[in-house]
């Protein structure tokens, strides 16, 4: 009844393609792709190359003019000078003071802003109250208002509560300005946590803080890393708030760097300037290198569920 060819299985292989499709390593597409990537990479590397090389040269060598050439004689003098001897105004103790100022600003600002924003985001995604959406919208609107508009009002507010020109004032400013974007970040992350998990914890008798600390926090490590990277780089690189809301003794590193590089007296010490700039950029750079992997995982966490 049935056709014999259907009941007897075919044996052996027919001619033609078999197994994986072969791919050439040096196809035209590959050469174009890697060529472009290489060129772009070189283009982005050149400024860094110039900076590192210049910072390792002495002034006589710099005056010869070959900014791309590696140093004939490597010297770390400019680095030492930038860190501990460069002058800003009357102080001649280099960037080191600015570094420690920045650290003192950075740590409380990062901890405080992340702590506040994570609780905000958790409350806004899991404990919806009447008007929580409106509240959230207002908070997000804050992210779109240009900083410049608020500079002077904040000066007045800080002066009135007596923390103008102090570390506490700057920490407060950083915490507030970090809130909209961080709250958005945390709210979206916590919204991606299955709602049933939250319900189960409520049935198990955990309260607002119990669920936050015992259930949500341990699950949210990647997003904390993302928030930390955003805040560390943002606050470390901040110049405007640092120069406005503090005073010379507690200027952050960026402000001090500017003062060193832009000083008009004497010879322009390019090697010291380059070294000082590299020193200032070292902290955000380290953060990226150390936690880059976690950063990518955290950014992607909302999109792909594990």
């Amino acid at each position: 009844m049935a056709d014999a060819s259907m009941t007897v299985p075919a044996t052996g292989l027919a001619d033609g393609p078999r197994g994986p499709k072969p791919r050439r390593a040096f196809s035209r597409g590959n050469i174009f792709l890697y060529g472009t990537l290489g060129l772009v990479a070189i283009y982005y590397m050149i400024p860094l190359w110039v900076m590192v090389m210049t910072s390792l040269k002495g002034m006589p060598e710099i005056r010869m003019g070959n900014i791309f050439a590696p140093p004939l004689e490597i010297t770390f003098e400019p680095w030492v000078k930038a860190w501990s001897e460069a002058c800003t105004g009357v102080n001649c103790d280099g960037l080191s003071r600015g570094f420690w100022n920045s650290v003192q600003i950075l740590i409380p600002s990062v901890v405080l802003s992340i702590a506040v924003a994570s609780v905000n985001g958790y409350a806004l995604s899991n404990w919806k109250f009447k008007g929580s959406e409106v509240f959230f919208t207002i908070l997000i609107l804050g992210a779109f208002i240009p900083y410049q508009v608020m500079i002077y009002p904040i000066v007045i507010i800080l002066r009135e509560i007596g923390i103008m020109s102090s570390l506490a004032g700057l920490v407060l400013v950083h915490t507030i300005f970090g809130m909209p974007i961080l709250t958005l970040l945390f709210r979206n992350y916590f919204a991606s946590v299955p709602e049933e998990l939250f319900k189960a914890a409520r049935v198990d008798g955990a309260g607002f803080w119990g669920i936050y600390f015992r259930i949500m926090l341990p699950m949210a490590l990647p997003i904390f890393v993302v928030a930390m990277i955003l805040q560390v780089t943002g606050i470390w690189n901040d110049f405007l708030f640092g120069v406005i809301y503090t005073k010379p003794e507690i200027y952050p590193m960026t402000v001090q760097l500017n003062n060193i590089v832009n000083s008009v007296q004497g010879v322009k010490e390019y090697n010291v300037n380059m070294a000082a700039t590299l020193l200032t950029g070292l902290v955000p750079l380290t953060i990226y290198f150390v936690s880059g992997k976690l950063f990518v995982r955290g950014i992607a966490a909302g999109a792909v569920k594990g």
Partner: protein, 357 residues
């Protein structure tokens, strides 16, 4: 004494009324299944009983105590979710003991309860593992265990088997039934799967648009559906419906009069437009049809063999009609078959109100 009692419960999300004036009494130790298609409000009702949703109006009593304003943890309920909802960063043991720790129970007692629950559910070897290292069936067992350790009066199940494959679902279904036999707790179980409902329930509440359409035992719901919706919803393949008129001589449809001998009407001699419902499995063929009041010859249009039985599509009284035959029966398209119908096993519904006649 009622274990759970719901009195004129209303729940609205904005303008949308999800539950309307719902009353439900659940006996002590009863296994009640809330059955309905998605969006009928069955999970919402369960969430209200659990205290995870604030009700708009009405009251909820558990063990004769008004729990309408109580927190979920204070209601004496345990809940099992469809997605298991295990805490991913805790071990199985941590998951089981989380609720007890929150209640401030002393450590030795926690250990004792966890051990007991693990023994009942046979998850002792898994206690030190994280949920990520468990299979779906094991996860759901842990989720049941989390409700079990809390020693609650009422178990709430929110479609607990829907995420499992067919074989595991059948296995765990039996286990849940065994668990109920052993514990004798009140259990409220939400599902859209009528097989789960029929096999597990002491009583089934069939819901539609936020209201209970019928609350009765599985046999009652299957044999004497209270209205057309229930009749259509329960049974697979679903019931055949013939449109016609009830009169003194019988049921008039498509120019013929079908006798209604042996059917127990709810009221005396109803008449007027009506619908007759006949389950495909109640249509007799072969030797079984002798003596049945309704007999007819039909032509087979389509055959769906399913192994254990065969579903035959045909026309009867001018309307599409399905009936079930034995799986071994040899039948093919175009065959003429003699069928018989017993009115006593049929259902009649009012055309307008759709209620059982």
């Amino acid at each position: 004494m009622h274990s759970v009692s719901i009195r004129s419960l209303d729940l609205s999300f904005g303008a949308v009324k999800v539950l309307r004036d719902l009353d439900l009494d659940i006996h002590d130790g009863e296994f009640l299944v809330l059955l309905g298609s998605s969006g009928c409000g069955k999970s919402t009702l369960l969430n209200c009983i659990a205290g995870l949703l604030d009700v708009t109006d009405g009251q909820i009593f558990i063990k004769d105590k008004n729990v309408t304003w109580l927190e979920p943890s204070e209601r004496g309920i345990g809940m099992v979710f469809q997605s298991y909802a295990l805490y991913p960063q805790m071990t199985v043991e941590g998951n089981l003991s989380f609720g007890l720790k929150n209640a401030g129970m002393p450590k030795p007692e926690i250990a004792e309860r966890v051990a007991r629950a693990a023994k009942i559910l046979q998850i002792e070897p898994l206690l030190k593992r994280k949920p990520g290292a468990l299979s779906g069936g094991q996860r759901q067992r842990v989720a049941i265990g989390r409700a079990l350790v809390r020693d609650v009066d009422v178990f709430l199940f929110d479609e607990p088997l829907s995420n499992l494959d067919a074989k595991l679902r059948a296995d765990l279904r039996v286990e849940i039934k065994r668990l109920h036999q052993k514990l004798k707790n009140t259990m409220i179980y939400v599902t859209h799967d009528q097989v789960e409902a029929m096999t597990l329930a002491d009583r089934i509440a069939i819901m539609k648009d936020g209201a209970v359409m019928q609350l009765a035992s599985p046999a009652e719901i299957y044999n004497r559906p209270g209205n057309r919706f229930v009749a259509d919803f329960i049974g697979s393949p679903s019931m055949n419906f013939l449109e016609g008129d009830l009169g003194p001589n019988g049921f008039a449809t498509d120019g013929q009069i079908l006798p209604t001998d042996g059917y127990g009407f709810e009221t005396d001699a109803p008449h007027g437009p009506a619908t007759m419902g006949i389950r495909p499995e109640h249509v007799a063929t072969g030797h079984d049809l002798s003596g049945l009041p309704i007999q007819a010859e039909v032509t087979v249009e389509l055959v769906e063999p399913m192994g254990s039985d065969t579903l035959v599509w045909t026309q009867f009284a001018g309307q599409t009609f399905r009936f079930r035959m034995d799986g071994q029966a040899e039948v093919k398209d175009g065959d003429n078959i003699h069928i018989g119908i017993d009115p006593a096993k049929s259902s009649f519904f009012d055309k307008v109100s759709e209620l059982r006649l």
